[in-house]
Symmetry: D2
Subunit: 256 residues, 4 copies
């Protein structure tokens, strides 16, 4: 059997401790609910981390042992330290997968990898969301039908300020009249990045069977199996070059 894929589920873990509605839905935190759903898969080895731990739970050792990182943040993006963000980004570029969930569109790490605003429209009004599977042969949609529905969710609407995705996976239809690119993938360095829209804290979205299936599929897809650190080496020529004739060349080029 293949060795396990090592997953770290990172949660902000603040709403759950201040909002009774959220606490009722996610008694141990959203990250633990997501982790529990992944622990049902024997090929995944899952741990959790959260904002208020030292180094936000993302020490060098944890990052080094993580193949795929899942990120949920919302009210405290600005409290995530820049040094930790820089380390997470470096690990993604080395080959660690990143799954950015819902309001993580505005997380420091997602914005740093995209290079854009990642802005969007939003509304909390109990919209119905129907996610259309626009990429039915992609590994992330394995086992899904042509669409699935979430009866109540926050709405996110276009335009979404992202670079053109490498591939689009889901487009959401909202009952209030909007659409959104709800699932999309990008390669960044040696790492694979998946953005997945659903998951407002006041809804039971991470208990939803198809949402859980998408996240598990995405973990396997995002596992690159590589760890490569880019360098910027000075290299010798592979073919023989003429003796250094810089000065001469510079004098005789027609354009100077």
């Amino acid at each position: 059997m293949s060795p396990s894929i090592r997953v770290t589920v990172w949660g902000e873990f603040r709403h759950e401790r201040t909002n009774p509605l959220v606490a009722a839905l996610y008694p141990e935190g959203m990250h633990e609910t997501i982790a529990a759903s992944l622990r049902e898969h024997p090929d995944l080895s899952v741990r959790t981390a959260w904002l208020d731990q030292p180094e936000h739970g993302l020490s060098d050792a944890v990052l080094s042992e993580t193949d795929v990182l899942i990120w949920w943040g919302h009210m405290a993006h600005s409290e995530v330290g820049d040094a930790v963000v820089a380390k997470v980004k470096a690990r993604v570029l080395e080959g660690m997968g990143l799954i950015a969930l819902h309001s993580a569109h505005y997380s420091k790490i997602f914005k740093a990898l995209m290079g854009t605003t990642c802005s969007l429209k939003w509304r909390e009004a109990n919209d119905k969301e129907r996610l259309w599977n626009v990429n039915p042969s992609h590994p992330i949609t394995r086992g899904l039908g042509e669409y699935f529905e979430i009866p109540s969710e926050e709405m996110y609407g276009e335009p979404f300020g992202i670079p053109e995705p490498d591939q689009l996976i889901f487009i959401s239809w909202f009952s209030g009249g909007e659409v959104f690119r709800s699932g999309a993938i990008w390669q960044r360095g040696h790492g694979r990045v998946f953005y997945f829209r659903p998951g407002h804290e006041t809804y039971p979205t991470y208990h939803h069977p198809e949402v859980r299936r998408v996240i598990a599929n995405a973990v396997r897809w995002a596992h690159s199996g590589v760890r490569l650190t880019d360098i910027c080496p000075n290299v010798k020529p592979l073919e023989s070059l003429p003796a250094d004739s810089s000065a001469a060349t510079r004098e005789t080029t027609g354009y100077r």
Copy 2:
């Protein structure tokens, strides 16, 4: 006649003041040589800025009046202030074009827009560089032949740590045996980004006629003509939604 495209050519302007060879090639600075070549085009309105000016010459007023920014930096990337980089990035995302030249592959602004390492191989050994035009109908290659040569240049080699370009424009062949994606474009927000490889400071590259033509073409291509600031608005539904029944819905969803 169309209104002018407002170009700002930004140079680090350090090598020119410390290295006599560079000073001989670019007596007023590389930025002024590039600017002078652009001033030959009556549709372009060109100013310059450099590192050691207040705010690196990139005040809000200058950025606001710039349609396309050209960036050359090398030895002092780390001296460019983060606040200025953030403002330049915001302007690119609003629609300002950015042309990153040569060692600007490692500039803060280019790396922030790409989200990747932007690493590469390099060698200073008087290689001959032949730039193949792989996109002969792109506006950036207007008027060029199938290739052009630079008799002496620094070598940059693959792998180049960039996101897959939206379109590839040039691939370089080097006499020492390497290849490089020497011209490539990306959309970032409402701004257009062009990376163009040639231009090591100890060579007369910015006097080269085809290099100058590429930069002028790229200015016109990168001029988006728009200025849009992304926001993240809370919006009302466009279709009537059922009365807020959150609690009820939450109780009755099958998955919770």
Copy 3:
């Protein structure tokens, strides 16, 4: 002033002659309605062509004088001759723009350029369509707001069997619950291709002001200004090669 962009609007022109409802909406044919809207723009020089003309109205002379071709077809895709399709495709690859409207998703020319099935879901049931502008700085969306609505249209739904677009322009929301990538662009050879969804024959869609604006914008965007014919030349080396030592080389390569 710039020379005109030469546009040919091609229509199947069959529904209009057999269905009184269509004839009432488009008395001179859908192609003439589209052409008339483009003739309001002084920079465009517009002609029309249709299926039942000799060579479907697309002689070598017409194609040669066309910068951008607009295509509407539906019930008679199979009657379009393969030789004409091959000539149109060759012209697109040389730099002629192509705007494929509505049911032209299944035209021979669009499928030949995409290489895929171009299949989709559909329904004629008077859906309301709301087209979201997901690319507000693209030339094709110049002058549009964040969305526009068509009160009654045929529905097209995902998945749409196309290659990932170079850029997505519009996503449609339908009142019946579906979504669709309603505007998308691709580069093919030296030609620019835009697919634009609206325009079922039994609705007055080509009288709709924003639909007309999109088509006019797209014409300007699709005008490449180039005509390049790819060849496959045998070429001499640019660097001196060793004398042909094929036999020797073949004997001494380690892998044979």
Copy 4:
């Protein structure tokens, strides 16, 4: 253990029977040499097919049982029947992988999937080819170093008339002075397509260990594990629509 990946290696098998040099390098045909190298991998189940078999060896049964098809053709592209090409294309769009080798850039099947000319420059002059690995974390380059060399090969040069690849894998440096995008991938429907440049018939290229490794890697990458046939269904609405009021709507739309 996973079930085998079923590979069919298709060869034109003409040069081998008319050119003694080719026959000496590939006594049983190029397709058999390629197949033999793949048979060294226990996870692959490999058969061969060639032009002069009935249906070119690609019956419905063979295609149905093929997960990945490898294609080498050169002198007889025009003899491949259009009906077979149509069936192969349909299978790729359903999820069969396709690996197009060398002169298969001009095969009917590759051109049909790309939608472009697929033209390039070429020269038979014993060039040295150095393939740079520009995507070192991609599954196709697993186990390769930063480059590998082929001491003698036909040269292919840019521009290569392809759609922008989804990802670029290799760029070749040629001793005669050219460059080429020697490895590139595209998604077409549910199928994955890889173009790989090396393999002129008069060189022992398919005995080269790194070439063989790339092909084996590419087979595993191109195996999608899915078979999906796009349809174009008429569908009922998922949300209740107002009663059909077409005539009324048409009369009252402001734009007609």
